[in-house]
């Protein structure tokens, strides 16, 4: 089976909120250089979902990762290879910058068409910059394949894909025909670590790099947007927490309860 996983390089979402700074001129947020970008955490779990299927028969299944962006850091984008993915395609060009969900899904779908053979496509449920949660469904719509979103379990049996889809109060078990696109949620479980062997192998592997023309698109990135960012801003937090202290923590704890009575919330 051929599996494709879409992985985005993102600012580190787990870094302290104070590291996120507004770059108003470019309508985006930035982090200081000491905070290294990462693969979007859900996308690592999307790789994990594909690798779990590959584990069932290593020779029979191939996992190709596609990453779209500009100035991609090789150490970062190669992580899926070091986890066990077979191939890495980079859609890398300045023109790819500044796209919205529509632009990104269009480019990724064009790249997947160029890859040609696919049974399953995996995406993260959302990426941690724009938190859009749109690109997966978009790719599926463009390619005309079914989609099952927010999956916590994915298995293949009898030519069908079986998916457990997380809902607000539990989950649904679904069965879909292939090819199918699946978006993965954290409930899938932790992604595997890269092994030393994997890191060595990945360091030797050269990613394939495609430009907009290679995927037959003349409009990509900001030029292909459907939505416009009118403004991007960082709301100011007042942050005036009253800290209750006492030499004896237990006394402080009691005073905290008294405070809640004073506030009339208990």
């Amino acid at each position: 089976m051929n599996m494709i996983v879409c992985c985005k390089q993102v600012l580190d979402p787990e870094a302290a909120p104070a590291t996120f700074k507004l770059d108003a001129a470019n309508n985006r947020m930035v982090q200081p250089p000491e905070v290294k970008p990462v693969i979007n955490p859900y996308d690592e779990q999307a790789v994990e979902a594909a690798l779990r299927i590959k584990d069932t028969d290593k020779a029979a299944h191939k996992v190709t990762v596609i990453t779209l962006g500009n100035n991609l850091i090789r150490d970062v984008v190669k992580k899926p290879l070091s986890m066990g993915a077979d191939e890495l395609i980079l859609l890398e060009d300045a023109a790819f910058e500044g796209g919205d969900g529509f632009a990104v899904a269009s480019a990724l779908a064009a790249a997947i068409k160029k890859v040609g053979q696919f049974d399953l496509i995996f995406c993260g449920r959302q990426e941690s910059e724009w938190d859009d949660g749109q690109v997966g469904s978009g790719i599926a719509e463009i390619l005309g394949v079914p989609s099952v979103t927010v999956a916590k379990k994915v298995e293949v049996a009898g030519g069908q894909v079986k998916v457990e889809r997380v809902t607000a109060d539990g989950f649904q078990k679904l069965e879909a025909s292939m090819p199918c696109l699946i978006t993965v949620s954290n409930e899938l479980g932790e992604a595997r670590y890269a092994t030393l062997k994997g890191i060595m192998a990945a360091s030797k592997k050269q990613p394939i790099v495609w430009k907009p023309a290679d995927i037959g698109l003349d409009k990509v990135g900001a030029a292909a947007r459907k939505t416009k960012v009118v403004k991007l801003f960082q709301p100011v937090k007042e942050g005036k927490c009253e800290i209750i202290s006492d030499d004896d923590l237990k006394v402080a704890a009691g005073k905290l309860a008294d405070k809640l009575r004073e506030y009339k919330v208990i």
Binding site: Q172, A176, P235, L256, D258
Partner: protein, 332 residues
């Protein structure tokens, strides 16, 4: 689609009733419709719509369309898309609103792409640009570390609204509105994913979404026991519910259904007690609407102290028993 007019809310039915998120979307839709001087309609999809249609009128809809079919019992994308696509084309609304729910997250983007537009997901505020009549959608981005306002020229404009972000109207049973069937012949041949089973994992006691007080634990709780002991005891005294940040869910200490945050439940209780959780922006996305946030954390630098109204710095193992004891004295 230059003639697109009016606002259509794609509603949801929960336990036979109009879902709260749909009343919220109708509340937001009503304000936009009044500003545009256009109509607000709602489509309800399911095996049985029942009284939810009347409730949608009471919540602000001028027209309610109902699509009932046994094949629409459980939400599934290909089946619901057949209804949503037909509604978007036949009713030709200017704006389509959905809830940012299991259904809305899945349906809105797919519908948008089918119609050749892009959706704006998880909106906190909606407004109309007076000059262009375009919808201005403001939503959190970068995990809640920033916000952005989006607009789009293409019609229809599709947006999902975050739960508890918009106020519903006070239900008015006297409101007049039309209720009409919107029949769609569901083509089973085009339904490529089949729902085999729906599993509910609901937790006993007060529902997290409805609780007036929530006691939430984070990674620093260290394991499953404190959630069923210390946190549950405090929640019980406050007649509230226990919640969690993501790590306790990922570690299987607690069920996934009690995760609070951007990708979990969105709640706005009177009182939110955050114990041994750092207050990441993604977590706060789910609880920043709380009236009073209380922090218990051993790290004075933890972000939760930037979000809370009051707190104590220290080990929860020492603080929580004394705190609970005093709460008990005060509330009995």
């Amino acid at each position: 689609m230059a003639d697109n007019k009016g606002i259509l809310v794609v509603g949801e039915i929960a336990e036979g009733k109009l879902a709260p998120i749909t009343a919220e979307a109708l509340g937001a839709g009503r304000r936009l419709a009044d500003e545009l001087k256009e109509e607000l309609s709602c489509i309800l999809i399911g095996d049985k719509v029942g009284d939810a249609a009347k409730a949608a009128v009471a919540a602000g809809a001028d027209k309610v369309y109902t699509t009932e079919d046994a094949a629409l019992k459980d939400y599934e994308n290909d089946a619901y898309m057949q209804v949503a696509e037909k509604a978007a084309k036949d009713l030709a609304p200017r704006i389509i609103l959905l809830g940012q729910t299991s259904m809305g997250r899945d349906l809105a983007p797919r519908l948008a792409f089918r119609l050749g537009v892009s959706a704006v997901m998880d909106c906190l505020e909606l407004a109309i640009d007076g000059a262009t009549k375009q919808l201005l959608c403001t939503r959190p981005v970068y995990g809640g570390n920033a916000k952005a306002t989006f607009s789009s020229e293409a019609l229809p404009q599709i947006a999902t609204v975050r739960q508890k972000a918009m106020s519903p109207l006070a239900p008015d049973a006297g409101r007049q509105g039309q209720i009409a069937a919107f029949p769609v012949a569901i083509d089973a041949g085009k339904v490529r994913a089949k729902v085999l089973e729906t599993v509910k994992e609901e937790v006993a006691g007060v529902k997290l979404e409805d609780a007036g007080a929530v006691v939430a634990g984070g990674r620093g709780m260290g394991g499953p026991e404190p959630f069923t002991k210390e946190l549950a005891e405090l929640a019980k005294i406050l007649k509230g519910a226990v919640g969690a940040s993501r790590p306790p869910c990922d570690n299987k200490w607690v069920p996934d259904t009690i995760q609070i945050g951007l990708t979990g439940k969105i709640i706005a209780p009177e009182l939110y007690i955050a114990v041994a959780l750092s207050g990441s922006s993604q977590h706060m996305s789910g609880c920043s609407g709380s009236k009073c946030i209380v922090a218990i954390n051993k790290d004075p630098e933890a972000n939760i102290f930037k979000e809370a109204r009051v707190g104590v710095v220290g080990d929860w193992k020492v603080i929580l028993p004394a705190f609970t004891q005093r709460i008990k004295e005060l509330t009995q």
